[in-house]
Amino acid sequence: MDIFLQQIINGLTLGSVYAVVALGYTMVYGIIQLINFAHGEVVMIGAMVAFSVITALAGTALPPVLIVFAGILAAVPVCMLVGYAMERIAYRPLRGAPRLAPLITAIGISIILQHLALLVWSRNPLAFPQIIPLASFEVGGAIITGVQIAIILTSVLMMGGLTLMVYRTKLGIAMRATSQNPQVAGLMGIDIDRIIAFTFIVGAALGAVAGVMVGTYYGIAHYSMGSLLGMKAFSAAVLGGIGNLAGAMLGGILLGIVEALAAGYIGDLTNNVFGSNYQDVFAFLVLIAVLVFRPSGLLGERVGDRA
């Protein structure tokens, strides 16, 4: 029982990170039907920037929570800028082009960002300074750490904030209008270019915070951490129904829990033929299973089959 609960807690933590990253994919997809392959790299850059700030401030007398907060404050604008630049340089000029074109620029941008990060932060994994006291609480035989609580809370807050923004503000209405029909939205006086750029920026900001969360959770940042995380988050977005905000949140959390449970039990279930080193495989198995059996995802409304 306690292993089960423990894995649920771990899965919930990881899942909320996936959910926040998945939101970035799903928002961009919802509005211009593009898979932003480079979103994972935005998350990575967020983690890297936060690493630099946190390491620089770790020696000072500031309280740890404030230091992490400063890391987030630095990472968010940098990532927003990266997100905006990406949209302007690689996606906007190709908006009318065949689908393959922006996909390929996205790969290119992702490679460029990764290797620029390698140049700036070196090839080695960077260890986050252990500044947050490892406070932990016992819940029914399982242990939940302060960091885990903070991650889950932050994610919930951000998801709530995003939902409010999309459904309650004028900007949100404009975003939804653009995603339904860009031409008509343009006729209604919405500056589509601005709305699309804004979508990228919001997605990147969420990604930045996710990056800081992953970095502090695992205690490590690496220039290539973005691609795997990005792929998993994308799988989460597809699981929930891509283009659907609630779907991305649900998909992220489900995927986190599936992954954690699978990693926890695969050894017992297969008599140790497969171990937890296969953890990374499950996200893709989930992705393929969803695509085969329910391509629109759990909450998705559209079945896409146009090439």
């Binding site: 082009a97 290119g108 691609s227 146009r306």
Partner: protein, 371 residues
């Protein structure tokens, strides 16, 4: 290549002496290229055997790019896990011709088998995903590439199949009876080292592959791929079974990758999962995109360029940096990757049809008129 040919066709009326002279010049040109290609390994060997190996790897990359071109260029399906098929082919060869399982099957048995296994993997991956829209395929193939790598890395227990991250070493070279491709031989006063012998074998196979590709492109299948790529719905309306035609592209591309993988294993004599990372898939994709998706000669050019330029950089930028800053500021590997990334972005923005565009592709990738 293509635009010239098209012009010749439309100029039908002026057919005569000039065309004849042109055809003549074409043969002379071809003969010159052939002589250059035959002489190349000896020229390279005089600089260093390392360069012959680089040339061999370049030919392997041309192989891979041509295989990926079937999927991306002909059929318009973005495959980001292509290197997985290369890996499957390489491991199939390594397992069946090395001391690892003490199996030493001859290469003409294993290479087709590797192609078949890779093809099977291609169908396995393609079948569930090809009914969906193109960009899902991209991400699923990306994931597939990762899965294959994870399995290669971890299938060393409980039964040691892949030997994990250490990889498999002492793989058999190609062998015909007592004639081995890894030994050095002297013939007519010329020294044929192992890499040079492989070079000629690869060149021969490459020629075959190029001919197959050119024939394929204009065959019934090739035209069906083109139709699917340009407008899937219209293609379906014309009676093309789009799913199976896409699956065919996928399977064919995969088997090309499998064969290339087998040759890679034999030439290197050692393989490990590290050779089959995502970056390699991106590299092959860059080659296809740079040269010109859908144009066989363009893809060949792209692959050769992107194979040699980074090596040249390694030999020029490194010393340059050392003399300027006293140390290596940017590793050549990083420059190489930045170049690949830039190539992908810039090509798509400014010359989406590639260096040597295929005629159809050029028309298709031009921005559609406002409707």
């Amino acid at each position: 290549m293509k635009p010239g040919a098209a012009k010749q066709g439309t100029r039908g009326g002026t057919r005569g002496v000039s065309i004849f002279a042109q055809a003549h010049a074409k043969w002379v040109g071809l003969a010159l290229i052939a002589v250059a290609l035959i002489g190349l390994p000896f020229a390279l060997a005089s600089v260093g055997t390392a360069w012959v190996r680089i040339a061999n790897l370049a030919i392997l990359f041309v192989f891979l790019s041509l295989g990926l071109n079937i999927v991306v260029g002909f059929a318009g399906l973005l495959d980001l896990g292509y290197i997985a098929f290369y890996a499957v082919g390489a491991y199939a060869y390594a397992l069946l011709a090395s001391p690892h399982f003490n199996l030493h099957l001859p290469f003409w048995v294993i290479l087709p088998m590797g192609a078949l296994v890779a093809c099977l993997f291609g169908v396995l991956l393609g079948a569930p995903t090809l009914k969906l829209r193109g960009d899902y395929l991209a991400i699923v193939t990306l994931g597939f590439g990762e899965i294959v790598r994870i399995f290669l890395n971890n299938l060393s227990q409980p039964v040691n199949i892949t030997n994990g991250p250490q990889g498999i070493s002492r793989i058999d070279p190609f062998r015909f009876g007592s004639f081995s491709f890894s030994q050095t031989e002297t013939l007519l006063g010329l020294v044929f080292s192992g890499p040079i012998k492989y070079y000629y074998l690869l060149l021969l196979l490459l020629l075959l592959v190029i001919v197959v590709n050119l024939r394929l492109q204009h065959s019934r299948i090739g035209r069906a791929w083109e139709a699917v790529r340009e407008d899937e719905i219209a293609a379906r309306a014309m009676g093309i079974d789009t799913t199976s035609i896409k699956l065919l592209a996928f399977a064919m591309g995969a088997s090309f990758g499998g064969v290339a993988g087998g040759m890679f294993a034999a030439i290197q004599g050692f393989i490990s999962p590290e050779s089959f990372v995502l970056v390699e898939s991106v590299m092959v994709l860059s080659m296809v995109v740079l040269g010109g998706m859908g144009n066989v000669w363009g893809v060949v050019l792209g692959a050769v360029l992107l194979s040699f330029v980074p090596e040249l950089l390694r030999y020029t930028v490194e010393p340059l940096q050392k003399s300027l800053f006293g140390r290596s500021v940017i590793e050549p590997e990083v420059i190489r990757m930045l170049l690949f990334g830039l190539a992908l972005v810039l090509m798509m923005l400014y010359r989406p049809a590639g260096l040597l565009p295929s005629v159809v592709r050029k028309r298709e990738l031009a921005k559609p008129e406002e409707m």
